[in-house]
């Protein structure tokens, strides 16, 4: 049994290193293409864009979100904003009704039907060639839209452009840990963009050509992750998705571990179930790196993290078992143990070095991601919050998502 467990362990460790090396090699190939545009971006032609803001009980954040849209450096008459109240039970209705005075804002009220129904209402009402959504908990940088539209102008085949999502005003440790994770995400998503293998077109401010929906149909419920499913559908039809690393979106993140857990459970459950729904694309050559890298890597990561977690829990259990045993047989006498440090007892099994390689590459991704996010300091101690918080909690939502998938249960929204 121990040897089977070790074989699984080494295979998963090998895969983890493979994934990180793959990202790093992709970085080396494309590093010169990662630019952050300073100053004003100008387009030859400014196409009209519809931005839908679906709101469900967002009375506290929606006004700021809308104001950030009004401040976009883009011709005002070319930005149509739809505020869609998806049956909120709080004061959202009154807050968004105040915006009707703006000529480019339209407000809709509907019965609650879920985010994808609000988006589909927006799709139905929009008359522009470009369509996007902005979650009511996020703010756009003034240059975000023009920078994204630059990608469409450059390549007529680009069907959707995902932005760079960063954390808005991280306050506590949980949010700072997420800030690091989002920064790391900037790096990984840019690399997936180079690989043509993006699997999520984030709710905050991905812009699509309307043709995508005309050709492929509207949003679906998709296990509460409609922004993932549309990306899968696009990949299945070989529609190109780009990542615009300098179009910044500031999103509000969960303040507590419990809320973070709920959010991530929904994401991972969505990933597993969308992947199961689209399993026919896996390892099929015509779907490219999406089929050979993104999806297998995602699945392998979920299993690696869960398995490693199990192993760590086992080791911690073993350690406490020994301590309890020690206490039971000799009472407090074991406190006499000397805590002399002897390097002899440092574990030098080969997997330790593999883990070190993975950490070095992950650290690189974090630091480069911070550079991409234009953080003032590339290294900050808050980077370190990421490891304990995600290291301990992430395996739990991974395992729960696997469990829920097996039982086909659906996690609630929040």
């Amino acid at each position: 049994m121990a040897s089977i467990s070790n074989v699984i362990f080494y295979i998963l460790t090998f895969l983890s290193v493979y994934v990180q090396v793959f990202f790093f090699v992709t970085f080396l190939e494309n590093r010169k293409k990662i630019v952050i545009r300073n100053g004003k971006t100008k387009l030859g032609f400014y196409p009209s864009v519809t931005i839908v803001v679906p709101c469900w009980n967002e009375e506290n954040t929606v006004a700021e979100t809308v104001r950030s849209l009004l401040d976009l450096n883009y011709p005002k008459d070319k930005v149509n904003i739809f505020l869609i109240n998806d049956g909120s039970t709080d004061n959202t209705k009154n807050v968004i009704d105040k915006f009707t005075e703006f000529p480019n804002i339209k407000v809709f009220h509907k019965e609650n039907g879920g985010k994808f129904t609000a988006l589909n209402l927006g799709l139905e009402k929009s008359e522009t060639d470009f369509f996007g959504c902005l979650d009511a908990d996020s703010l756009v940088d003034p240059d975000a839209l023009v920078r994204i539209m630059g990608y469409f102008e450059k390549d007529a085949l680009t069907m959707a452009v995902a932005p760079a999502v960063v954390v808005h005003n991280p306050g506590n440790i949980v949010q700072k840990a997420q800030q690091t994770e989002y920064n790391m995400g900037l790096f990984f998503k840019k690399m997936l963009g180079f690989l043509g293998a993006i699997n999520v077109t984030p709710g905050p401010f991905t812009i699509f050509r309307k043709k995508v929906f005309n050709d492929l149909g509207p949003y679906k419920h998709a296990h509460s992750t409609e922004d993932m499913e549309i990306a899968y559908r696009m990949q299945k039809h070989n529609y190109k998705i780009e990542n615009c690393n300098d179009a910044f979106i500031y999103t509000n993140t969960p303040k507590t571990v419990k809320k973070l857990y709920r959010q991530r459970l929904r994401w991972i459950y969505g990933f597993l179930n969308n992947t199961i729904d689209y399993r026919s694309v896996l390892f099929r050559k015509k779907y490219g790196n999406f089929a050979f890298f993104t999806l297998p890597m995602g699945i392998a990561s979920i299993f690696s993290v869960s398995y490693l977690f199990g192993r760590i829990v086992y080791n911690i259990g073993h350690f406490f078992y020994f301590k309890i045993l020690q206490f039971r047989v000799v009472g407090f006498n074991f406190e006499m143990n000397k805590f002399d440090f002897d390097p002899f007892f440092i574990n030098t099994e080969s997997f330790i070095f593999m883990v070190v390689f993975v950490y070095i590459l992950v650290m690189f991704a974090i630091l480069f991601g911070r550079k991409m996010a234009q953080e003032r300091k590339v290294f900050s101690l808050s980077v370190l919050y990421f490891f304990p918080i995600f290291g301990i909690v992430a395996p739990v939502w991974f395992l729960k998502a696997i469990y829920n998938t097996i039982l086909s249960r659906k996690p609630s929204w929040r």
Partner: protein
């Protein structure tokens, strides 16, 4: 619509790099493993020299006087070696080299034990030692508990020597020790204190009382330690 060409060369290159890293990890692991084995060998050689030197010195001096009797190897050195060997067996894998070193260790313990016995016979000095037999071949939970008890005792009484022997060690000298004290694998853990064979688990309190009676040992006080 978009070109979804897969760059197979890259997949292969990344595979090669990863394999390279994997072998580097194995190389590093072996390198440090070897260093540890060498460290163990050095400690053992040192102990072997110490024992040989003590034996020789004893043979030279014993007929003259009991005043200058050499002290045999420090118990703490043997104990440290024992701990490191045990750790190596668990963490470096039960390689041929580790089990070879373990045999050597058993032999050194027996030699040290014999020397101490001869000194005490000749000069009437009673040295405090416990012979301890355990097994790693099967899951012996009582052995684990007894090892903890003995480790604690050794720390409380630095003069106390604990010679521990793995029942499964394939060495004729160890087999002879087992035969002398008539110890079978069904009664493990087993101890010999002051000539008496004790089998099964014995608590810290009962052993402490026993060794205090037999050997009149002094417990080291934490205050004394802090002065050092």
């Amino acid at each position: 619509m978009s070109s979804n060409n897969i760059d197979w060369k890259k997949y292969v290159i990344v595979l090669l790099i990863t394999t390279g890293l994997f072998f580097t990890a194995i190389y590093l692991s072996n390198y440090f493993g070897d260093k540890k084995i060498n460290q163990l060998k050095t400690i053992q050689d040192q102990i072997a020299i110490d024992i040989l030197s003590s034996e020789t010195q004893f043979s030279l001096l014993s007929e003259l006087s009991c005043k200058n009797i050499p002290d045999s190897v420090f118990s703490s050195e043997l104990a440290e070696l024992g701990n490191k060997l045990e750790w190596s067996q668990e963490n470096l894998g039960d390689t041929g080299e580790v089990s070879y070193l373990k045999k050597y260790y058993s032999l050194l313990q027996i030699k040290d034990y014999l020397l101490a016995k001869r000194i005490s016979e000749r000069c009437g000095i009673k040295s405090a030692f416990i012979l301890y037999f355990y097994t790693t071949a099967e899951n012996c939970s009582l052995c684990k508990e007894e090892s903890i008890v003995l480790g604690t005792l050794r720390m409380k009484y630095p003069e106390l020597r604990v010679y521990s022997f793995d029942y499964s060690t394939d060495l004729s000298a160890v087999t002879s020790m087992l035969q002398i004290y008539k110890i079978k694998d069904t009664v493990l853990p087993a101890m010999v204190i002051d000539g008496e064979v004790l089998t099964g688990f014995h608590s810290l309190e009962s052993l402490e009382t026993r060794i205090k009676e037999s050997f009149k040992l002094q417990e080291i006080k934490p205050e004394a330690k802090s002065v050092e």
